[in-house]
């Protein structure tokens, strides 16, 4: 009796304590900043003061470290029954080997930037999770500068230098010396970036080889060839229209990026101008030529009359159901939308290439060097634990970990078709030209020019996938295997056919003036471009658009961008 009473008292005390702790947490976060700062500094000080304890990038944490994070969930998720992001074999490995465990604070749909919207709300409410991965698109760097200004994220300079694995550090260097610049403020590193596969930005033209063969045509090399192929397909009773969508540029699938590329133009991207200063791609004269071509295509019916009502998913319906035989996509189209095409028609044979431009050179747009970054909430006790997870993630993404490959990559693996990222928090730093280099390596092994055992782990893994696929009795039985094998074997091949000249953005991010004025400028641009393409305005109206763009604040923004970039 006495005992239960005592227990009761202490639990209620505990509850009271917890409650007050919770209250002070939510109310006084601003005030608590300084003490937290000092403890962080103390920790760093003790770490440096005790050299006997050399930081080990892969060692197990002495106690279980739990951290919260947020994630997107695709409606296509296909996890084994009873398992989830928090509960699966990959997570178990991290718990057993690093003593680190993620906890999902929230999830959002992966559509419509629902994730970015949630992040923004949570920042406003000052309740971000312990660890957060933010994409640079559409406005990640802007969010990061808000987080840093508000003092909500941890300075990772010391943690990175102490705990990042040598392999990760070395891989980061592949991005160049300035790779950390966008995530560095006042000389302090506030986020660990993931590098872009910049070749992923290259727009490739996918065509149905079986239909071209029937029509007696070669794979298209120029815009003229694309026109010929479309007309030939139409004569064969297929769709003579290019699947296209409302985002006419800077979109992965079914945009006009390949047309703009062919004219060496880069709308929507800040690029180095001829005089070395930074200029806005959309107002360059080359864009006018590309628009003229598109207006011609539209009037000739080579694109759908109401293409601007489509999103990419709607646009590629025609690909999926076997009426369109040519479309603009990315090298990873074997993951989307091609599986739907070959599922419906096993005879469909797709191939891709980068077109030669009007000047005979294959031009293509690019991405900024960073595609996403990981931040850690200010006051999180063990940033080094997260760094260790990132070290493993980097190895895993480079296919260096057998156990991980078996679970998530190889044919028939437990999570190969799970459609969900399973690393507690992920990062990837690879050679910006990883894809074409990897492709050459893979082909060297497949052609017997190189021994598998001497190849890098990633090459070995990809070769194994291709060989498994080639040996499969029914190549369409396992679509994940089909996609995995064809991604490099077919998709990446297209990047290697013509030597590609990529133009990378000279500036990424959002400036103060952009926040105020860019919406109106973007509206004007979208509207003018669509009106020119659909013939509501003449191509020459492009010139008055440029004048208007400049006067509506475009010139001011350009000046601001140049000032920031020159710093």
């Amino acid at each position: 009796m006495k005992r239960t009473l005592k227990a009761g008292v202490s639990t209620s005390l505990l509850v009271a304590l917890m409650l007050s702790a919770a209250c002070s947490n939510s109310n006084n976060q601003g005030n608590e900043e300084s003490p937290k700062n000092s403890t962080a500094n103390n920790a760093a000080a003790t770490a440096t003061a005790a050299p006997a304890e050399k930081p080990d990038p892969y060692s197990k944490m002495p106690e279980l470290v739990e951290f919260t994070t947020g994630n997107t969930v695709s409606t296509e998720v296909n996890m084994p029954a009873g398992e989830s992001f928090e509960n699966n074999d990959v997570q178990k490995w991290f718990e057993e080997n690093l003593n680190v465990k993620p906890k999902l604070a929230w999830t959002t749909s992966d559509q419509n930037f629902a994730f970015e919207q949630k992040v923004n709300l949570l920042i406003a409410a000052n309740t971000i999770p312990d660890v957060l991965t933010i994409n640079v698109e559409p406005n990640g760097l802007n969010i990061l500068s808000k987080l840093v200004k508000a003092g909500m994220v941890e300075d990772l300079t010391q943690v990175y230098s102490d705990y990042a694995s040598p392999y990760l550090k070395e891989s980061m260097k592949l991005g160049g010396d300035d790779v950390f610049d966008p995530v560095t403020f006042d000389g302090k590193l506030y986020a660990i970036p993931s590098l872009s596969d910049i070749e992923t930005a290259i727009p490739v033209v996918w065509t149905r080889k079986d239909w071209l063969d029937q029509a007696g045509l070669q794979e298209p090399q120029t815009l003229d060839d694309v026109e010929t192929a479309l007309k030939a397909f139409k004569a064969m009773g297929k769709s003579g229209q290019l699947p296209t969508q409302q985002n006419i540029y800077n979109s992965d699938t079914a945009s006009f990026d390949f047309v703009f590329g062919a004219y060496n133009s880069y709308p929507g991207q800040w690029i180095k101008g001829e005089d070395g200063s930074i200029v806005y791609g959309s107002i360059q004269p080359q864009v006018k030529d590309a628009l003229a071509r598109l207006a011609k295509w539209y009037s000739e019916g080579l694109v759908a009359k109401d293409f601007m009502m489509n999103d990419s998913n709607k646009a590629v319906e025609a690909v999926a159901k076997g009426s369109a035989g040519i479309f603009d996509g990315s090298w990873w189209a074997p993951w989307y939308p091609l599986p739907d095409s070959v599922k419906n028609d096993h005879n469909a044979v797709w191939q891709d290439t980068v077109l030669n431009g009007e000047d005979g050179i294959a031009h293509a747009r690019g991405y900024g060097k960073i595609r996403s970054f990981v931040v850690i909430k200010k006051g999180f006790k063990h940033p080094e634990a997260i760094m260790k997870v990132l070290n493993v993630a980097q190895d895993a993404n480079a296919k260096k970990l057998d156990w991980y490959n078996k679970l998530t990559f190889e044919a028939g693996g437990k999570y190969t078709d799970a459609k969900m990222g399973l690393l507690p928090v992920s990062i990837s730093a690879k050679d910006p030209h990883e894809i074409s280099n990897r492709y050459k390596d893979i082909m060297a092994v497949l052609n017997g020019e190189k021994d598998v055992s001497t190849a890098e782990p990633e090459t070995q893994a990809q070769v194994k996938t291709i060989q498994t696929y080639q040996a499969a009795a029914d190549p369409f039985a396992d679509m994940a295997l089909w996609s995995g094998a064809n991604n490099f074997y077919v998709g990446a091949a297209g990047l290697a056919k013509n030597p590609v000249q990529q133009t990378l953005p000279a500036f990424i991010g959002t400036t103060d003036l952009m926040q105020k004025k860019k919406t109106a400028l973007d509206d004007l641009e979208k509207q003018t471009f669509l009106e020119i393409i659909t013939g509501k305005k003449t191509v020459d109206d492009f010139d008055s658009f440029v004048t208007k763009w400049k006067s509506m604040g475009g010139d001011e923004i350009t000046a601001e961008v140049n000032t920031i970039a020159s710093k």
Partner: protein
């Protein structure tokens, strides 16, 4: 004699109202006070109340939007046209329905035409986008009946606005007719009987009895509609529009949404909300005043 019981009853009234007021304080009054952030430079770590003041900076940004004038004109135009069309179509429908005498027919027609009012714009946008698309039903019929090219309903500025008005009327005319139908039933039947004895035609009855009798209701509805003049219907436009028709269809709410979406300027968005509320407030009082004066009607 009754007085003491009544005093006791007042306590019961307070008790009944207590939960309601509690809800309003928590979910309405308290967060509404948070609109003060329109005058602040918001800092997440300091919260709404602790953030530094920014004066009228956020409001100045609003008037500096390059398209401010165009959006204002659009918003008001769209609202006014919608009000006029909705009221006249609803009125015409009510008058037609009033002429029918077969009860089951009346009931069935009413049941059908009220229905769209209850379906969300998310759903309706999905349906209409399909219905008016190049492969949709309407263009399918056009293609079968003539050699004409399909009409691009969503990308032509004039067609798009027609679609906006048409679908708005489609969704609302039945429901809006309810008030008119109510007014029509309250007309004294003896007026019609007298007219019939005089041998008045249907048309004369309509113009001389029916319309004058419900005139106050018509005016009242028009006046009350003024309250929504700065809204214009976000859900409808947002779910249907595209860049080609921004110039004619952009209203405050859609523009702010796009702007907020790109930049997450919450103080700014709140400032716009406050501005809209203030203007709406003026219109509401104006319409109340007009309604009392000309419609002899008091809502509150």
């Amino acid at each position: 004699m009754l007085k003491p019981t009544r005093n006791k009853e007042v306590i019961h009234y307070h008790i009944m109202l207590f939960p309601v007021i509690l809800f309003l304080v928590i979910f309405s009054i308290y967060p509404t006070l948070g609109s003060i952030m329109a005058f602040k430079s918001f800092d997440p770590t300091k919260g709404i109340w602790g953030s530094p003041w920014a004066g009228l900076e956020n409001f100045r940004s609003l008037f500096e939007i390059p398209d401010f004038k165009r959006i204002t004109v659009n918003t008001i135009t769209i609202s006014v046209v919608k009000i006029i069309l909705n009221v006249s179509c609803a009125l015409a429908f009510a008058l037609l329905l009033n002429e029918t005498r077969v009860r089951w027919f009346k009931r069935s027609v009413q049941t059908v035409v009220y229905l769209p009012f209850f379906l969300s714009w998310v759903i309706m946008a999905g349906i209409f986008k399909d219905f008016f698309s190049v492969e949709g039903l309407i263009n399918g019929l056009i293609g079968q009946l003539s050699d004409n090219e399909p009409i691009l309903f969503f990308t032509s500025k004039s067609w798009f606005m027609i679609i906006i008005y048409l679908t708005d009327v489609w969704k609302g005319f039945g429901f809006n007719a309810i008030v008119f139908l109510a007014a029509l039933t309250s007309i004294n039947p003896s007026l019609y009987e007298a007219a019939e004895v005089d041998g008045a035609s249907r048309w004369r009855k309509l113009t001389h009895i029916t319309l004058p009798s419900i005139r106050p209701t018509i005016i009242l509805i028009l006046i009350l509609s003024l309250q929504g003049i700065l809204s214009g219907g976000f859900d409808q436009i947002f779910n249907l529009y595209n860049p080609l028709v921004y110039s004619v269809s952009d209203i405050y709410d859609t523009y702010i949404y796009r702007m907020g979406f790109q930049n997450n300027q919450y103080e700014f968005a709140t400032a716009v909300g406050l501005f809209r509320s203030a203007v709406a407030f003026i219109f509401i009082f104006l319409s109340q005043w007009l309604a009392e004066k000309y419609g002899d009607y008091k809502v509150f």
